[in-house]
């Protein structure tokens, strides 16, 4: 038995990989649904957007790329429905070059579902390189930093952009961020300086870094990773005037359950084997 446990610690990594793949594919092929509760951070996100008056412009910085899509896409999709269902007027910007082709088709598709007009009900200003320098200029002078929108139209000719010159002209900023530049930079350069109400949606990896901002009310709402996106998605879907859309976040959350159990199982087995064979390891050197 002890010999088996000792050799178990030197298990080929490919067997662990196969187990990991199975823990992902099995719940996808045999789907199940477990109930979940909405966390206070996500509930606050939803409530803050609900509290905005109809017709209010909202600045949304969608800074995610293909690699962070599984985590942030469900939030972005639900957020679009939330915006248009509440007759809010989103202005989208992005600081990542790979974001526009991901978000622009979805913005157009969702806007058409709610019969919203480009330039009157929503605007996409496109991508700008320069990271914090761009964020700083969004805080102060949007027309200078974004003289044209994503389609090349001068923003001065867009009806919705009349009277919007800087971040302070928005009652709310939503940063959907995959890392750098993202929530942290918006808090440093805009929220901290102009005290602009701000909401964040981030990947699970950076979630613990942003909790202090939520606690100090610099972020009024926070969605972290797939759980946050799935919970927000459910809140939006339960609204009356929202058009139906697929719950990608909730589907992924159920798959996540089995994968997490598998990793906990690996940790438990690994430690059990380690404690049972600790003396053997001392004799033979670390495995």
């Amino acid at each position: 038995m002890r010999q088996f446990l000792f050799s178990l610690q030197k298990l080929d990594r490919r067997i662990i990989f196969v187990g990991m793949a199975l823990s992902i594919f099995i719940p996808l092929l045999l789907p199940f649904s477990l109930p979940f509760k909405v966390s206070k951070e996500v509930q606050a996100t939803y409530d803050q957007i609900e509290a905005l008056p109809k017709g209010a412009p909202v600045l949304i910085s969608a800074d995610f790329d293909p690699s962070s899509m599984p985590e942030l896409w469900p939030f972005f999709q639900a957020n679009l429905h939330h915006m248009f269902a509440n007759d809010l007027k989103p202005v989208f910007v992005t600081l990542l070059p790979t974001a526009p082709p991901l978000i622009w088709p979805e913005i157009k598709k969702t806007a058409s579902l709610y019969k919203k007009q480009y330039g009157e009900d929503y605007v996409f200003l496109g991508y700008k390189d320069g990271k914090e320098l761009v964020i700083k200029n969004i805080g102060q002078n949007i027309p200078q930093q974004f003289p044209q929108d994503y389609r090349g139209t001068p923003i001065a000719s867009l009806e919705m952009m009349q009277g919007i010159k800087q971040a302070k002209d928005f009652p709310m900023l939503i940063a959907i961020s995959a890392g750098f530049p993202g929530i942290n930079e918006y808090v440093l350069q805009i929220q901290g300086l102009y005290k602009l109400p701000m909401i964040g949606a981030c990947t699970a990896v950076s979630g613990p870094d942003y909790i202090p901002f939520f606690k100090s009310k610099q972020l009024l709402g926070l969605s972290m990773g797939i759980p946050g996106s799935a919970k927000y998605e459910r809140l939006v879907q339960s609204k009356e005037n929202v058009q139906p859309f697929s719950a990608t976040g909730a589907k992924s959350l159920n798959v996540l359950s089995l994968s997490h159990l598998y990793i906990i199982f690996l940790i438990v087995i690994g430690n059990f084997a380690y404690f049972m064979t600790r003396d053997m390891e001392d004799e033979d050197g670390p495995g």
Binding site: T98, G130, Q144, L253, H260, I263
Partner: protein, 212 residues
């Protein structure tokens, strides 16, 4: 001379940007706006510089048929093809029927996403091999990680009796020990950033200018 002039410009621009916090006058803000915009242009130029450097490094290796030269050819060819379609297709490059959009959707997106997805498998392997309760510190870390992994997914909530407490415990871990840790790191990092920033503005720190 070659160092003093850049340092002088850096000093002037840096302190001008610092002054923005205290001087809200419109002329001052106008100049600051230009500096920020020029900064974004310089950041994009740096990207261009990176590409020039990439060609400078890889082209001689291809010509000399060095190790893995074929892969370098593939890299440069992919780069040129993407760039050409990006420039040729212009403002319509992101329309559904464009080759540039096709390259983005079916080459860049899957490759980029899968590169990061590989980490899921390695983290599982690391959890099995390296995550050991060897001492008190490691045990605390391990228990906190397991609580977090269980409580963030719906299956954790379903555990009879304990499930509800698990959720609250997870929130407590995030709201109290996590916040105190992050704040301590914030304080250290902020003090470090401020001191490094001042060293750069005053010209004491010059490593970003490179050697002579």
């Amino acid at each position: 001379m070659r160092t003093t002039i850049p340092l002088f410009f850096g000093f002037v621009v840096g302190f001008f940007m610092l002054g923005d916090y205290f001087i809200p006058h419109w002329t001052y803000q106008l100049i600051k706006g230009y500096i920020l915009e020029f900064g974004t242009l310089l950041a994009s130029t740096a990207f261009l510089l990176g590409i020039i450097n990439l060609i400078q490094v890889n082209l001689p290796k291809i010509i000399a048929r060095e190790k893995d030269w074929f892969y370098k050819v593939v890299m440069l060819v992919s780069m040129v093809i993407t760039m050409v379609f990006g420039f040729v297709e212009g403002g319509a490059r992101m329309d559904d029927d464009q080759i540039y959009k096709w390259i983005f959707d079916y080459i860049l997106t899957p490759l980029s996403a899968t590169m990061f997805a590989l980490l899921a498998f390695y983290i599982a392997s690391a959890a099995f091999r390296a995550f050991r309760a060897r001492n008190a510190d490691a045990t605390i870390l391990l228990i906190a990680a397991c609580i977090m992994m269980l409580a963030t997914v719906p299956v954790g909530e379903q555990i009879p009796f304990f499930g509800d407490y698990l959720l609250h415990l997870k929130s407590w871990l995030m709201d109290v020990p996590n916040v105190s840790t992050r704040r301590a790191i914030f304080v250290g990092a902020a003090l470090g950033t401020i001191s490094t920033g001042l060293r750069i503005l005053l010209g004491i720190e010059r490593s970003h200018l490179g050697g002579d």
